[in-house]
Amino acid sequence: MDSVTMDPVKQMEKASQGSPNHAAGKGVIESPEIKRGGFLKNIFTGMISLAKGMKVTFHYFSHPSTVVTQQYPENRDTLKMFDRFRAHLTMAHDEKGQHKCSGCQICQKACPNASISVVNRSNPVTGKKELDRYVWRMDSCTFCNMCVQVCPFGTLKMENQFESSVYDRRLLVYTLNRYAGPTAQVLGKLESDEERTKQMEPRDPYSGPTPMNGQAMAGVAALGEKKGEGESK
């Protein structure tokens, strides 16, 4: 929107001051170039411009489809979140349940607030380095999307599920990978499915190291506790 139409008064004053270029040389701060017109013409163009603005707002008023507000708890079943909405970091697993994370820790280094820790181990059979746990702390995550952007294998993804409230902050520490073991590419080179499953040691979201000050809770093992003890209620 040019300033002509926005403000007839200013424009009028401008017109009486003479050429804008004349004053510009003296270090006077100039408003953008304004078309000069007569008194009535300025008023007329000003009113036209106001009418244009009113037309825009009336379009929104008369078209309820432009409303962006979501009636959230009511429309929970039909709510469709937006593609770029970032809520829950997930690791993509293919239909065989295999992921592409090699444990390179680039995401861990990129994370601005240390919400990610990638724990690696040596493969018990081959001795090669592989992913043990991908621990993501949602409670300190700012959802900046850096980890997703730096991942060289495209294995990370921000999901849309935003209903993450829990009564215990420890439940916000997730293990993202579903198994500890080699990547899908390495697993693909093995002969049989049996061998593959042998190399994939299962991990569940809450089996990771959680800051529990030595306490345990249902389904979550305390730090330092052996796996499985906390889960047995």
Binding site: D7, V9, F58, F61, T66
Partner: protein
């Protein structure tokens, strides 16, 4: 054709007084109760409407939670305001602080008294109605100035001073525009002005001067009631809340209510003066058409016109950015006032030499 007999509550009460005192007292009580109820309900309805309209102008929904589509939201807010702690600032001028919202409200109520809602719903039909309205609407300036002054707060003071300068400036233009209608209708009485528009409304029957006067009056009135784009006295981005920064609870509610009733008053006055008030849409000479239009009750015409103008005011508010103080003053003194003066002059010439091209009474 319909003769539009006007009877006011004041007249009826005077009539009743000749027979019994209690009849007159009954009418007066009815008038007072009616006005109080009307103001309260209208305030709530307008606030709800404003929030809904604002929401939809901004791609939102507005209140949706309390009641069906948020209809009870204003009731809940009112209850909240009534229950809130009433804080008077330290070292504030306590008496003036309490007095200010009441003064503002008095100005509003006094204007409401002479407003012709329909031929039979009017509290008092003052024969100098237009002058009376111009006079008593000054109360609201006094209220704002006192409120800002007594709050012992720089934002309040600045807001109040801005309001004073603004309202007093725009009063000039509003009055000039109003005089055009007075010239054409030849009366200061509001019911008489309405009845003079039986052949057609002044906005188009007045040779083009009408529409200019209408625009000037509407713009100047918007400025007088401190609504966006002329809401410098409140200016929440510069002055927190302007003159009512230090007000809370019931007293703030009074300011708030007066503001919204003033919006209604401006719409009602503009429709009374320029759009025929309760007068149905008539075209001089087309008797059958006029008779058809008379089928819609007069009160409904008034309500419709006023509601439309209220909507336009809201439309203004949610479309236009706020003016700067100097721009505001220039708009009044360099644009509205000269045009208003020329307009009044032209109107006077038209009326004086009878340059009408429509039948005049």
């Amino acid at each position: 054709m319909n003769t539009w007999e006007v009877t006011t509550l004041a007249e009826r009460s005077a009539e009743a007084l000749s027979s019994s005192f209690w009849g007159a007292a009954g009418y007066l009580g009815l008038a007072m109760l009616g006005m109080a109820g009307f103001v309260a309900v209208l305030g709530m309805v307008l606030i709800y409407a404003e929030r809904k309209v604002a929401g939809h102008f901004q791609c939102r929904l507005g209140p949706m939670r309390v009641g069906w589509h948020g209809t009870l939201q204003t009731v809940a807010d009112t209850v909240k305001l009534l229950l809130k702690e009433d804080i008077v600032p330290y070292q504030a001028d306590k008496m003036l602080h309490i007095l200010a919202p009441l003064l503002m409200f008095i100005g509003t109520i006094l204007v409401l008294l002479v407003l012709p809602f329909s031929p039979i719903v009017q509290v008092a039909d003052v024969n100098i109605g237009v002058v009376y309205i111009t006079a008593v609407s000054g109360f609201s300036v006094l209220g704002i100035l006192l409120g800002g002054w007594s709050s012992n707060n720089k934002w309040s003071l600045i807001g109040a001073m801005r309001a004073g300068a603004q309202i007093i400036s725009y009063e000039v233009s509003a009055t000039l525009a109003l005089l055009v209608v007075v010239l054409f209708s030849g009366s200061l009485q509001l019911s008489e002005i309405v009845r003079s528009q039986a052949e057609g409304w002044w906005i188009w029957r007045a040779h083009g001067v009408g529409i200019v006067a209408f625009l000037i009056f509407f713009i100047a009135s918007t400025a007088e009631i401190n609504r966006t784009p002329f809401d410098m006295p409140e200016g929440e981005s510069e002055l927190t809340a302007g003159f009512h920064t230090e007000y809370s609870g019931l007293r703030f509610a009074f300011f708030f209510l007066a503001e919204f009733i003033n919006m209604f008053l401006v719409a009602a006055l503009t429709s009374t003066l320029f759009l025929g008030g309760w007068m149905p849409f008539h075209i001089g000479g087309f008797e059958n058409f006029n008779a058809l239009m008379d089928l819609i009750p007069a009160g409904l015409w008034f309500t419709g016109k006023t509601a439309f103008l209220v909507f336009v005011l809201m439309w203004f508010r949610w479309s236009f950015p706020r003016l700067r103080v100097d721009q505001l003053m220039r708009l009044e003194w360099k644009i509205l006032l000269p045009i208003g003066l020329v307009n009044l002059f032209v109107a006077a010439v038209v009326v004086l030499y009878g340059l009408y091209f429509f039948p005049v009474r």
